[in-house]
């Protein structure tokens, strides 16, 4: 009888603790990702250093770290066109928050992948973002430029998981460098170094973004 009581008390303890956590989280007092922040690129241009799963700026709703900057004569379709020999399939859309002309706006992109999703295969995937409808920023420091995030999708149609944003960033750096575009791998600190596992989301980002000059 006493053992039964102990089990019931323990269940009660757990329920109370879980309830307290839920209440605290719903009032906005919960934990947040410490690396989400805005980055400025001069002349008022700025972005968030992660893309988001929905059109809401939330440290608990980020998808991948911003790790790529294409500059000088970049435009979203032009960059995708250059990588289209290897990155040819389209992906699901994510959201990016940016400020080009004095106000914040959202852009969406599905990006490009190296293969179709499958049950046992893996595909590298990157997305590129810029002000919607114009597909690039302009300022005298960078010329025409756009931003990108990267990652690696595994077993998407079965028990999926996602990782290796750094590896895909490196793969793209090699691809563009091989095509003659001046590439500076891991050139600038974007304040989004993150490692560790969150469910099926495995972080491995060193916080440095690669700059690729498009001509």
């Amino acid at each position: 009888m006493t053992r039964r009581k102990i089990v019931l008390y323990r269940i009660g303890t757990l329920l109370c603790l879980a309830g307290a956590v839920v209440v605290l989280a719903s009032t906005g007092l919960g934990a947040s990702t410490p690396y989400l922040r805005t980055l400025g690129f001069g002349y008022g241009d700025s972005i968030y250093n992660y893309d988001f799963t929905s059109q809401a700026v939330s440290s608990s709703g980020v998808d991948w770290a911003t790790s790529l900057l294409f500059y000088n004569n970049a435009e979203i379709d032009k960059v995708k066109n250059i990588s289209s020999g290897k990155y040819w399939f389209y992906g699901s859309k994510m959201n990016f928050r940016l400020n080009d002309s004095g106000f914040w706006e959202w852009d969406q992109d599905g990006g490009k992948k190296t293969d179709t999703p499958s049950c046992l295969g893996s595909t590298r995937h990157y997305r590129i973002y810029a002000p919607a409808a114009f597909d690039n920023f302009y300022n005298p420091n960078f010329g025409y430029y756009v931003f990108g995030t990267s990652h690696y999708d595994h077993h998407e149609l079965c028990n999926s998981w996602f990782d290796d944003s750094e590896g895909t960033e490196h793969d793209l750096a090699n691809l563009f460098s091989g095509k003659g575009y001046y590439t500076r791998y891991d050139y600038a600190w974007f304040y989004n170094q993150q490692y560790g596992n969150q469910g099926d989301h495995h972080w491995s980002n060193d916080g440095y973004a690669t700059y690729i000059r498009i001509t």
């Binding site: 008390y9 303890t13 109370c16 719903s26 004569n73 010329g143």
Partner: protein, 326 residues
């Protein structure tokens, strides 16, 4: 007769070759020592330059004085004036122009069977999206060069055509009144600064929208107005125009308004008809009024009660364990 005509043709070829060699050997024109504009017709291209193939081509060479830097004291600009004859089919192309490989002009052209769309972004005309139903069109684009776009000594001006898919043009020409300029007007002589993060306002309550103006450069410091465009359902407290007799280096002010209904809104501020006519938008998130009691106190109280409950259960567990041992 045949011998004469052959001799005349040969002489013509020799003269043309000599002229070509002379023009190739002649040094590029020195430009940019004073404010002005130097069209391609003065830089060696007297007729429209027809571009029929994708790729990059040099359209002009010029010289700049030793010590030339963008903005010190002159700002260098580009004008890309084009004549398009669109192909009536699906296509996406980018026409760009660069000084020394640093791109300062870009026109993104998308075509289909009915019309064409030309998008461009620059610091003189801002963002432009032209929808053109005519088969032919002239597009005039101006922008400031990149920071390292102009340099001392020899410079080149190139034009690049990228065809991303399909075909965009039956013909494409860069007109001879395209070229390079130099001006004392800064690209952002007057800057309108507004909050970068969304302003959270409560429906039915007064909210302030602060702004600041920063002036630099050589234009006269005259009077100007800052205007705010309020969305429907917003009521201004002291009007929608803020007048400055002069601003010196920095001027600041604030508009006050009362939003009526909840939602996400964008408020536009502008300085019309003065300097570089800056504009800025601010996002305002209007929320319903919430009391401190419901938003903070009650959830905190509930969490505290649950934590006390957890502690009570833990105490009861220990007590039950002790009884069990006895």
């Amino acid at each position: 007769v045949r011998a004469r005509s052959i001799a005349a043709a040969a002489a013509g070829i020799v003269l043309a070759a000599a002229a070509g060699a002379a023009s190739a050997a002649s040094p590029p024109l020195q430009i940019g020592d004073r404010p002005g504009f130097w069209p391609l017709s003065r830089l060696g291209a007297h007729t429209a330059i027809r571009i029929s193939e994708p790729g990059t081509r040099v359209v002009a060479r010029f010289r700049l004085s030793p010590g030339t830097r963008q903005g010190v004291p002159l700002w260098y600009t580009i004008r890309l004036h084009t004549r398009f004859r669109f192909a009536r089919r699906r296509g996406e192309c980018i026409l760009s122009a660069a000084t020394n490989g640093l791109t300062a002009a870009q026109m993104i052209v998308k075509t289909d069977r009915r019309a064409a769309q030309v998008a461009s972004v620059g610091w003189i005309q801002g963002r432009r999206l032209l929808r053109l139903s005519a088969k032919t069109a002239r597009v005039d684009f101006r922008n400031y060069l990149q920071t390292k776009g102009p340099r001392s000594g020899r410079n080149t001006l190139t034009v690049t055509l990228d065809v991303l898919r399909g075909r965009c043009f039956d013909s494409l020409s860069v007109l001879p009144d395209s070229g390079l300029g130099a001006t004392r007007v800064r690209p952002d002589e007057l800057r309108l600064l507004v909050p970068q993060q969304p302003i959270v306002a409560t429906a039915g309550r007064r909210t302030k929208l602060p702004f600041a103006l920063r002036r630099r450069g050589g234009r006269p410091d005259g009077g100007l107005d800052v205007t705010v465009l309020l969305p429907e359902g917003f009521r201004a407290i002291d009007g929608t125009v803020w007048h400055f007799a002069r601003i010196g280096r920095v001027g600041s002010g604030a508009f006050e308004f009362v939003p009526k209904t909840t939602g996400h809104y964008v408020l536009s501020l502008a300085v019309p008809r003065r300097y570089n006519q800056p504009t800025a938008n601010v996002q305002v998130d209007v929320v319903t009024p919430r009391s401190w009691l419901t938003s903070r106190f009650l959830p905190s109280l509930l969490a505290a009660v649950l934590l006390v409950g957890a502690a009570a259960f833990m105490y009861a567990t220990r007590k039950a364990k002790k009884q069990d041992r006895r």
